[in-house]
């Protein structure tokens, strides 16, 4: 009985891995656009950044503050905790043109925008 119960779960996990790989392959083939941000005094610098459409984006977030921050974005669908005085690297899929908000999940006031064209 337990074997029967595990089979659909295994199938679901396998399907998930397969589709993840399908999405990852073209993204790896393209050169990523790098976006550099610093985080200090509870704010992103710069708070508005740009990137080209249909190319993967790599955020390099340097946290200069004395406490951790969490880079997060619902529309980019990424999150990463960046420890104090360190750098976090966040990989984002190729993006369509538009405006993508990001923020520090530990600090309501720290917000920024990525414009993709």
């Amino acid at each position: 009985m337990f074997y029967h119960m595990l089979t659909p779960i295994r199938l679901t996990l396998a399907a998930g891995c397969a589709v993840s790989l399908l999405h990852a392959a073209p993204a790896l083939a393209q050169q990523a656009a790098e976006v550099h941000l610093t985080y200090s005094n509870g704010a992103f610098q710069p708070s508005e950044v740009r990137a080209p459409a249909d190319r993967p984006v790599v955020f390099r977030v340097k946290n200069l503050d004395g406490k951790a921050m969490e880079f997060e974005s619902k529309s980019l669908r990424v999150e990463k905790v960046v420890a104090a005085k360190s750098e976090g690297v966040i990989n984002v899929r190729p993006l369509k043109s538009g405006r993508y908000e990001f923020y520090d999940d530990f600090n309501e006031k720290a917000r920024g925008v990525l414009t993709v064209q």
Partner: protein, 298 residues
Amino acid sequence: MRAGIASGWRLAAVFGAFALLCHAGAARAEDAGSWKEIETKYIFGFTTGSGIGIEGEKEFTVDSIGRSGKRDGHYAATETKYEYEFTPSQFIQIEFGALGSTHNIGGVTDLDSRNAAAFVGGFAEFRYLAIERTSNNPFSVTLAFEPNVRLIDETSGEHVHNYEFETTVNADVELLRNRLYAGFDLLYEPEATWTATEDTIREATLGGSAALSLRITPGVLVGAEAWYLRHYDSPTLSDFTGDAIMLGPTLYVQFTPKMFMIAAWNSQVWGREVGNSLLLNLSEFQRNRARLKFAWEF
């Protein structure tokens, strides 16, 4: 029937009052343009939005659905999902977990009386974001597949071997930025059940829903949804047995950035059974259903 609808509206009023009390103060000075974007998966009650979370996010949830009301006697049943959910990529979400149930049944035609709680089985869900929302496209669609295995029948509480494969299309559209959302689900749910008396039952449920959800403060959404459900005694949809329409209010409350709850109530407002002229379809569906879910992200 009237009592069911009336209690639904009372609940809607309670939802609204609770939501307003929770965040009334915070809302005054803010406008929706400055609010953070919201995850849409859970803002529509029983209707599931297109959200799949964010890459690397993990969540534990306790999701209970209660059903009550049959033609006669008393009927109350719950099924609870203890669920682990994670998002391994920016397009995929995977969930799995265990199911538990309770049944309190007495004097219902065709159902044995029982008062029991049990471990039911397990489930897994795979969600794929097919169309993503951007600032230029408010429409988003996710395809979801959810196999379930049950050792206890969802309706009767009897020991069975039940295999269900729920397939849904979850779509939503942002009608007003950060403020008003519409959600739509399409459902196809074939299942096969082997009973303790060696009978085999094959059936399917087909349905669709529409929901609206209004964000009244950054962390509170209230809304309403309607479901149309059809039941067949065949997975190929060849043997129609009845249908029903359910309506009710929904509530979503974000307590902290990492913790939220949803509540929803649906009452059957119209239904029919093939070969039976009675009002409502209480053979395949229930008079009322309620959902309460708590989630913790980590």
